[in-house]
Amino acid sequence: MRNTFIIWRKEMRSYFVSPVAYLLLAMFGVIFGFFFWNILNFFVTRGMESQMSGEMYPMNVNEQMIRPLLSNVGVIGLFFIPMITMRLFAEEKRNGTIELLATSPVRDGEVIIGKWLAALTLYGGILLLTALNFVFLFKFGNPDWKPLAIGYLGLLLQAGALLAVGMFISTLTKNQIIAGAATFGVCLLLWVLEWVSGNDSSTWAQVLSYMSVVSHIGSFSKGVLDTKDAVYYVSLAFLGLFFTARSLESLRWRS
């Protein structure tokens, strides 16, 4: 536990002394701000239209703003996750500091969990930044906060799973670029798998669609906590962490 915390602190430090964390926070903030402005604009226009035409459309902040926004965040996240995970182990391998970690009295598991939690914390920080926009919704509107909270929980679960996968990929190479590119490819693949189900309803299409990360974020965005989707993310995270552990161990046998 103590060792996990030491590793976590070291990783957080290294995110924040380099420009990585600030760059990610700023970029995510700008992109999310753009989406927020766009959707808000649409929402307000529709509201005005409905008033002018005299007939009342059903208007709901949760349904028409928060839900699409959170879905978007899930997809934008796919592009940011490789940038968070690519350095986790690749950098240690390149600098030779992996030898320090491996010869210190800490378990592999403590190192892995420490690093993963640090990555998750940074992603959580990024999500927190987006919450800043929602403050305005609460100030001027009257949305329900519970679906919003569940939406964020879904995003965190999704990130936990993808960060674990990205971390695993980072143990495979010394080169951060390769780790980043491969993680990006995997993230992208896990996203587009969902598209198969659009025009195909055969069994294998269903299976592929189930494997997609994005198809599971839908229910969370709606504010529904579906165990099936939660189990998917948690098991993917476990798989990633498990592979990371095996990969680290195999480093020692091969090296």
Binding site: N3, R13, E99, L100, T103, S104, W253, S255
Partner: protein
């Protein structure tokens, strides 16, 4: 508790710090370390000597629990590297070939991180950082980024990192590689000063380094143990007995070197006289004594009494270099012969 105390006291009495028994590391295509066995006593500095690719780093990595051995056992500070790696790791400090530094950390932060990782409490940590900074002379770079340090400082921070938790065993992989001569001397002195508190294994391919710093040498070549002994014993062993270079000149005119040789052979204690060289009227011989006989005085008298000039008389010191070549030479020559044989076959 009583049991633990017994174990601890028993351990304190124990003299052997590192026991390596038939240690082997095989990879898919080659055997990096092949059945190596040796012991290291508490408080000693041991030189781990061998050409590049001999298996030094692999052996050290197995001792630090970085690599698991394929076969054989190794015990460090009383704990088996496979059975109780965490206990071994707590008691060893390791400086890999390239110091494992985080470029974006400051020296102080780095030492804090490593100290905590090795299990020091906050109170101990402050004292130890103070101590190692002074010991390794890195006080003036404490607030500098590690990425900006010069090679010498990087090496010293690496060493500070290795001793921060006051380990019983220090394992240093080529600690002086890539340093300038002044830094090399400083590092050697530092390592020497660390002996006693710590048992040190250092690897190198530089022979004078071993002669200067180590008490014991372990020579390996191509993964096999070639010799393990104290530095003095190795030198004696390699030359058998004392050997002396003698240069004799004639007073007037030419002198038959055969005459000189037969005269030198008559000196008591001489086992063998080798004619080395002849320039104008000077002849050079290498004279070997019998074991434990001091012959230089007798030689000088014999030459002078015969009416010749004694130009030079000096012990032919055998360097570790020669020992090393003697010990590893046969194996090194073998592939060449093979290649020659193949060539001839064609």
């Amino acid at each position: 508790m009583g049991l633990f105390k017994d174990r601890a006291s028993c351990f304190l009495k124990q003299k052997t710090m590192i026991t390596v028994n038939e240690l082997t590391k095989r990879y898919a295509r080659n055997t990096a370390v092949d059945h190596i066995s040796f012991n290291v006593e508490r408080g000693q500095i041991v030189g781990f000597l061998g050409p590049n690719g001999a298996g030094k780093t692999t052996t050290m990595r197995m001792l630090t629990c970085f690599l698991p051995p394929t076969a054989g056992t190794a015990t460090v500070a009383g704990f088996d590297v496979l059975e109780q790696p965490l206990e071994v790791k707590k008691r060893t400090g390791y400086l890999p070939e390239t110091p494992p530094l985080y470029q974006e950390m400051r020296t102080r932060e780095y030492l804090e991180f490593v100290g905590k990782l090795k299990g020091l409490s906050a109170g101990e940590l402050r004292n130890r950082i103070e101590y190692v900074s002074e010991r390794c002379a890195i006080g003036d770079v404490r607030e500098k980024l590690l990425g900006k340090l010069s090679k010498g400082y990087r090496q010293r921070v690496g060493l500070a990192q290795a001793i921060i938790h006051n380990p019983d065993v220090l394992i240093l992989d080529e600690p002086t590689a890539g340093l300038d001569p002044k830094q090399i001397n400083e590092t050697r002195d530092l390592i020497k000063s660390l002996a006693g508190d710590h048992t040190i294994i250092l690897s190198t391919h530089i022979l004078p380094e071993v002669e200067q710093t180590c008490q014991q040498v372990i020579i390996i070549n191509k993964g096999k143990l070639v010799a393990t002994d104290s530095v003095n014993n190795l030198q004696i062993r390699a030359r058998g007995a004392e050997s002396v270079l003698v240069e004799v000149a004639a007073r007037n005119g030419d002198l038959d070197s055969g005459t000189i040789q037969s005269r030198l052979e008559k000196v008591s204690g001489v086992s063998r006289v080798l004619f080395k060289d002849k320039r104008e009227n000077r002849s050079i011989f290498e004279v070997e004594s019998r074991k434990d006989r001091f012959i230089r005085g007798e030689l000088a008298r014999a030459v002078v009494e015969a009416g010749w000039d004694l130009n030079e008389l000096r012990p032919a010191a055998v360097s570790l270099e020669e020992i090393f070549l003697q010990l590893t030479g046969d194996q090194a020559a073998a592939p060449k012969n093979e290649a020659a044989a193949k060539g001839a076959g064609k």
